[in-house]
Amino acid sequence: MAIIERPGTETTPAVVTPQQTLGAVKRPVETKGWREWLFTVDHKKIGIMYGVVAMAFFIVGGVEALLIRLQLAAPNGHILSADKYNQMFTMHATTMIFLFAMPMAGAFANYFLPLQIGARDVAFPRINALSLWLLVVGGIVLNASWFLGGAADGGWFMYAPNSGPVFSPSHGVDFWVLGLQVAGIASLLGSINLIVTVLNMRAPGMSLMKMPVFTWMILVVQFLLVFSLPVITVALVLLMLQRSYGATFFDVSQGADPLLWQHLFWIFGHPEVYVLILPSFGIISEVLPTFSRKPLFGYPFVVFSGASIGLVGFGVWAHHMFASGLGPVSVAVFSIATMAIAIPTGVKIFNWLLTMWGGKLWYTTAMKFAIGLVILFTIGGLSGVTHSVAPSDTQQTDTYYIVAHFHYVLFGGMVFGLFSGFYYWWPKVFGKMLNEKLGSWNFWLMVIGMNMTFGPMHILGLQGQPRRMYIWTKARGGEGLFNFGFWNMVASIGSFILAIGVLFFLINVVKTARSGKTAPLDPWDARTLEWLTTSPPKPHNFDRIPVVHHLDEFFHRKYEEDSAANTMRKIADGEELVRAEEAAADANIHLPAPSYWPIVLATGVGILGLGIIYGVPIMVVGFAVVLFASFGWVLEPSVAEDIDFAPASNDGNTKEIAPLG
């Protein structure tokens, strides 16, 4: 779908006429019940589904983490066998990164990016739906391995040659390779979709430097994905060919160099780290100004530091390989580059602090989580700086110190940012306020649990407990009260407190759904365009496409500067502004019709993948479904037959959505 802006003349047809319906199957017009969700192309519904799927996998990955902590609570744990433990930590990381973190960021991006830029949907709604369903299929393929002979056991980094058919003989790695390829297609399609959306579909007046920071960060992330996903895709295809068809890309006896995999993996893997964290940076860059009643301090610096983190992020991959036997010059270069990336990251932290400086801080749950991110990410960032010192890293890499580091960054940073987003935007999405009291329990239990779980890991790692080990022994655990047994037990107890904290969120969600308070239209005195519409927004988002004059447009429609008193004077109420938009609704709004094909095509891709494991007949079935779905997609009528649409009005510019999706 594209927005076509055109002068209202008689000669230009607004949209293709409904008579051109050549498709084999009728396009669904209006769907109800479960169909409303399965065949939708509405970015908001897709966003919600992304969120639900990601949350489900967050719970799966969380249970895996709890099992890991149960196993490690005491020396010589026997809850899990070596084999099961190896599968567990592989799938914990894979699930959390690919099936929780990325889709959850995708949920926020899908839902709010079009709203923040004043658009009615994303550029390619059907492709958007395809992304979602491919992710679901990829997640199912990945986790199906648990029931079909065991999950992948090579670590999420899946280093060659340990990932080869000889060393990992079960089908686990095959499922992993295929699941990730499918999920990778989803991300790649999604990223192109969002880039086009941001570049082409911003409301009139919204120059790039008037875009909300969340949208900016999502844009940077999509560029990271576009350039890094092809690299991992190549690596995954090579590994697939080796495992399933006898190729020898990583077979040392055939002359392969196993370090090739590491380079390919981390050229993807390091930008991936920023793919995970930048959306949360974006979220709190919305939340902190809102609840500080001040614009983001140094908006251009935050934007450009985000972009430069993204750019430099492509040049630091080998810092994951300081112990892998690179030459000293390479090590030195990557060591210095890694230190360099700390600078723009530090800039962001200072800007957030200075945003709050001189503000009027309102401690809602969303704000608490945002502040949690600032503090916890700072700790994780500083332990990251100690890792950039390559000689020191050769002592601490692959110990629990690095596990502590990236959980402070990813849990303290990314996850706290996402939770901040939940509390901030819940009223927008569902029209109801999450309970602040339960939110407070949720926040504090998560803070305590998170620090109890990952804090002690700093000590354990510095004192030499290596990671990825299904047992640890007393013999290497030191003496005294604070031996490894003490800290491992603290970490394990902490992990359950953390889990209870997350449980409070789920309780909050259920409670809010049942008996939550209806949200006012502008509960937070917010700043950006997504609040200039009803909650939840109508299918077409905006009754009238807003014209943007300011960064933080919505705020500036509500407040006027009182330069004499050096303060802001309220001139309008958020709710009135929304009602005014409703009153001045555009006459001709066209939305794309739902479609059967995205979910069918995604299913076909999944079957095709299973065919690579289970043989040609299944592959043929998968291919047939893909072919059928592709033809269906292409030949599908671009609008539903009896969709109601009015001719364009003649009064100057009219914005319409041509549903060519």
């Binding site: 070596a82 340990n162 160099d257 036997g325 530090g346 390559a390």
Partner: protein
């Protein structure tokens, strides 16, 4: 004026006290004598790293404390007390530039020292001794090429425990026979991966005699957690004794002893994979093991002088009982050499561990040794299979192995 400075002083005192308390808690929270502590260097390579990290960690800690303190100040000072909505200032470029330059300067200084240390630790021109280290699932093999100036007149092959002379710049030449492993003795240096098809170099040097623990730190499959090792540093005299012991010829047990019967069982059951240098069959023909026919990596530990090491099976198990273990591990450095060189005496031998291993090795250490699951390796084991020895055979083999001093 006085009161102001007084307040300032007391503030300073509070800050200093808090910092002191925090530091004490951090240190007190550590385990004592953790064998793999990364902040207890025992040789000059690890010392170089330590010197660097003892600067970097406090700087990071200090920055952290300052930022968090600033944050808490802001949280309290600017909380909503009913003040007006502030003017919408969008930032001050000067502040931004200062906040960019200051960390950049700190990192530049850190960068310079980092660079120097990286180069120092990559040096190979001062090498005095070379040892080839080969990783395989899930144990380490050490191969000492002949180096007459170190008293090694013929090659020595051993496993599990790396023995080096103190004060000597040892260069490990690491590689692997299967997947990637990583060699790490934290007291002596950082880690370096052992990658199949490549040779990576790692400097090691120990100041004092002692036993230094390590673990494989690159995930290497099923029993990664059980792939351990120790470095044993001996004084130069003791090292010469150790070398002499390793180069000692083979003595077959006396006829009629249990050990002699054990030798026969060993020849039938074990010597297909495990080499014992000098062992001969009934016809007087030297037995050369052929592990590559049975084991995927193509190697199994050389057992010629098994009783000179205090651990076995990838250093996963103690070959000595707890008392003798403590004796060695807790020995003072000037007594350590003599204690280690005593080897595993009959009193010290950990019968329980060794017998359990001989009874059913895969039950002791997870390995790929189920014959029905070896299709991808052409029937070859990864690790040691269950040999199905009778208790009687186990008695005999234990008696025989005890003679391999």
């Amino acid at each position: 004026m006085d009161t102001v400075s007084h307040v300032k002083n007391s503030r300073r005192r509070i800050v200093a006290t808090l910092a002191g308390v925090a530091g004490t808690i951090a240190l007190a929270g550590c385990a004592q004598n953790a064998p793999q502590d990364t902040f207890v260097p025992k040789g000059d390579n690890a010392q170089k790293i330590d010197t660097l990290q003892k600067v970097v960690f406090p700087i990071a800690g200090l920055v952290g404390v300052l930022v968090v303190a600033l944050a808490i100040y802001i949280f309290i000072k600017f909380r909503d007390k009913g003040q007006d909505i502030p003017a919408q200032s969008h930032g001050k470029p000067t502040v931004e530039i200062i906040l960019t330059i200051v960390p950049a300067l700190i990192l530049t200084v850190v960068g310079v020292f980092t660079f120097r240390t990286i180069m120092d630790l990559a040096k190979t021109t001062d090498t005095q001794m070379v040892i080839n280290v080969t990783g395989q699932q899930w144990w380490w093999e050490y191969d000492y090429p002949a180096q007459t100036d170190q008293g090694i007149t013929q090659p020595i092959i051993t496993s599990g425990q790396l023995v080096i002379p103190v004060g000597t710049n040892v260069l490990l030449r690491e590689t692997s026979r299967d997947v990637i492993h990583s060699y790490w003795i934290p007291a002596l240096n950082g880690k370096k991966d052992a990658v199949p098809g490549r040779i990576h170099l790692l400097r090691l040097q120990a100041d004092k005699p002692g036993i230094y623990a390590g673990q494989c730190t690159e995930f290497c499959g099923l029993s990664h957690a059980n792939m351990r090792m120790e470095a044993i540093a001996l004084s130069k005299e003791d090292f010469a004794k150790w070398v002499a012991g390793q180069q000692k010829g083979y003595t077959s047990p006396d006829e009629g002893t249990k050990a002699k019967e054990g030798e026969t069982v060993f020849i039938n059951q074990c010597s297909r994979c495990h080499q014992v240098n000098g062992i001969k069959d009934a016809n007087g023909k030297a037995i050369i093991s052929a592990p590559d026919e049975n084991v995927y990596a193509g190697a199994a530990p050389n057992l010629s002088h098994l009783m000179s090491r205090t651990t076995f099976a990838g250093a996963m198990f103690d070959l000595v009982n707890q008392k003798c273990r403590d004796d060695v591990w807790k020995a003072k450095s000037d007594e350590f050499g003599a204690k280690y060189l005593t080897g595993v005496t009959t009193d010290c031998l950990n019968q329980k561990n060794l017998r359990a291993w001989l009874r059913n090795a895969p039950a002791m250490k997870p390995m790929y040794s189920d014959p029905t699951k070896l299709a991808k390796t052409g029937g070859k084991y990864r690790g040691m299979p269950n040999l199905g020895l009778s208790e009687d055979d186990i008695d005999k083999v234990v008696a025989y192995l005890s003679t391999l001093k």
